[in-house]
Symmetry: C2
Subunit: 354 residues, 2 copies
Amino acid sequence: MAQQHLEPTEPLSGHVGTVTGDALAGYLRSQATEFLRALRQHRESGGTAAGAEDPADAARALRRSVRRISASLHTFRPLLDTDWSESLRPELAWLSGTLGMEHAYESRLERLLLALHRLSGAVFPVQGTVPTAVPTAQPAPAPAPVPVPDRGNLTVGAAKAGALLDRQLTLARTRAHSTALQALGSSRFHAVADNIAVLASEVPLVKSATATDLHPLAAAAQERLDDAAAALPLVTAGHPYNAEALIHGLSPDPSPHPQDAPWHQVRLLLRLHRYAREVLTPAVDVRLLTASQCLDRHRDASEAAAAAASAARTPRIAPATAYALGVLHADQRHEVEAARFAFQQCWQKQTVST
Amino acid sequence: MAQQHLEPTEPLSGHVGTVTGDALAGYLRSQATEFLRALRQHRESGGTAAGAEDPADAARALRRSVRRISASLHTFRPLLDTDWSESLRPELAWLSGTLGMEHAYESRLERLLLALHRLSGAVFPVQGTVPTAVPTAQPAPAPAPVPVPDRGNLTVGAAKAGALLDRQLTLARTRAHSTALQALGSSRFHAVADNIAVLASEVPLVKSATATDLHPLAAAAQERLDDAAAALPLVTAGHPYNAEALIHGLSPDPSPHPQDAPWHQVRLLLRLHRYAREVLTPAVDVRLLTASQCLDRHRDASEAAAAAASAARTPRIAPATAYALGVLHADQRHEVEAARFAFQQCWQKQTVST
């Protein structure tokens, strides 16, 4: 697991030796094995927390390995059997998307309820301190599942907004849970799992793969990332309180935040780059991980802001509820801006030092 | 007028020669003369824009001189006849407060309508560009009167919120205008004006004043400022996106922003220091002016946020209106945070270089 062996940054120093398709095969085999292990674990837990292992951990591990296999199929495409990889990739995307929804709704609700508590100046009952936005370029810590705080000391508006979001996002999460369980029992899923089981022993490399250097393909992935990041409005993002993220906060545009899309795209390209790098070296680049976390935070805040705006469009809500949702929306849009600032700070260091 | 002769910063270098009560007398005489000139100008314009001079300019000039006379009476109290200054100071405070209200409501409305347009992603019809928060430590430029933008391209919620704020703040402003006109015609005002007319020729210094150095009293004013500024949470303020200003955004506390009070207090102490400095040297310290403008912006945003919150408590408003007011409130609270950051950046430079 990448996050377990954090080491001092060790930039990938050019072509130190040649890494070929054999390394790719090894990486894919280990990810496939990881997938099968997580799947077994998930089945043993029965999809509920009754088993010895947390099914959420198993689902997370499943998604982890699926993302990595999918990314490798993309980045190192020329080294792999085309028919096989072209048929597997959309299936992996479907699986990753389906398995991720429940967790996404859960953490979105947590984020919004914590924000409501912070905005109410309420003392958070569990941790004893009010969780605030992270002050500097440090990314937010990985979101650990937190118990939903009680609503004892919220205003009526904040409490009602919290109840409304709770209702809407819990419903969405429950549906996502059913969909994921259904997916895991489907013949479509069994076909994917069979495919990955084969991959655990036999990687369908093309003939030339064992003599092909992986570096140019990995470098191309990095180049796509660098180009996309360079096109981001990083100068603006580097000026604190530039107020850009909220510019369309009250826009009549039904899709109010097209400005987020390039950042989401860089988030995906950064992930592809990180996974390609994993194939080449076991060393974790902490700055890449930090930059990734900034963009995760950006995505989470962006979606939480959209959920608050969407809840505010519920018919027949009280004005106090709508007001609280407006404050909450703006707060999360500022989190979006804060995440961009944090990414800019991190990325700037990155490009200077490499 | 201080803002007209901006010069490179020239820090007050210790006790260069002795400045005594004579300088104070000269300063008070010139401020009193300025007051009388502005008063004449205001009367000639008849309180309406029909005259050759803008009555708003005249009112501003009146407030300027009243603030300076009042501040000097406070800072250099031991050099002035006690009975006289103790009786005049509350009258000056009353006058300054009464005369300032109309302008305050006017600029608050402008600020909020501009923000609503920015939040709607609307192109501002007059200046052609969207006014955004100032990116770095630069303070916002002095608010020039801007025409109220039209509401053609706002969402329903933003348009309704704008109309509600327009109605409420225009009413308050009209009342403040009447109150100010009434005050200027009152016998209470005439007594103040007579007092200031005497001051223009005859400053009631105590006997020892012409032999007393003003520096210790001015230094005491600076010390009060420095102490109060040092007690501000400047470390937090210096971390961009610390999310402090919105912490009580949904607080059940009826007075939701006690955290602003120390900043407002520093704003007043900074003004006292600046005016005391004016008595001693004609050189304008640009950094002090910048710091002052940051705290003006802090105060303006704080009051605009409160006005948005207050408008949201209007009975029977639509949820969409309340939502827009919530977004607007949070936006202005972030302006509060941005102003604190800008002040911190400016103040840090200040204390390092002096």
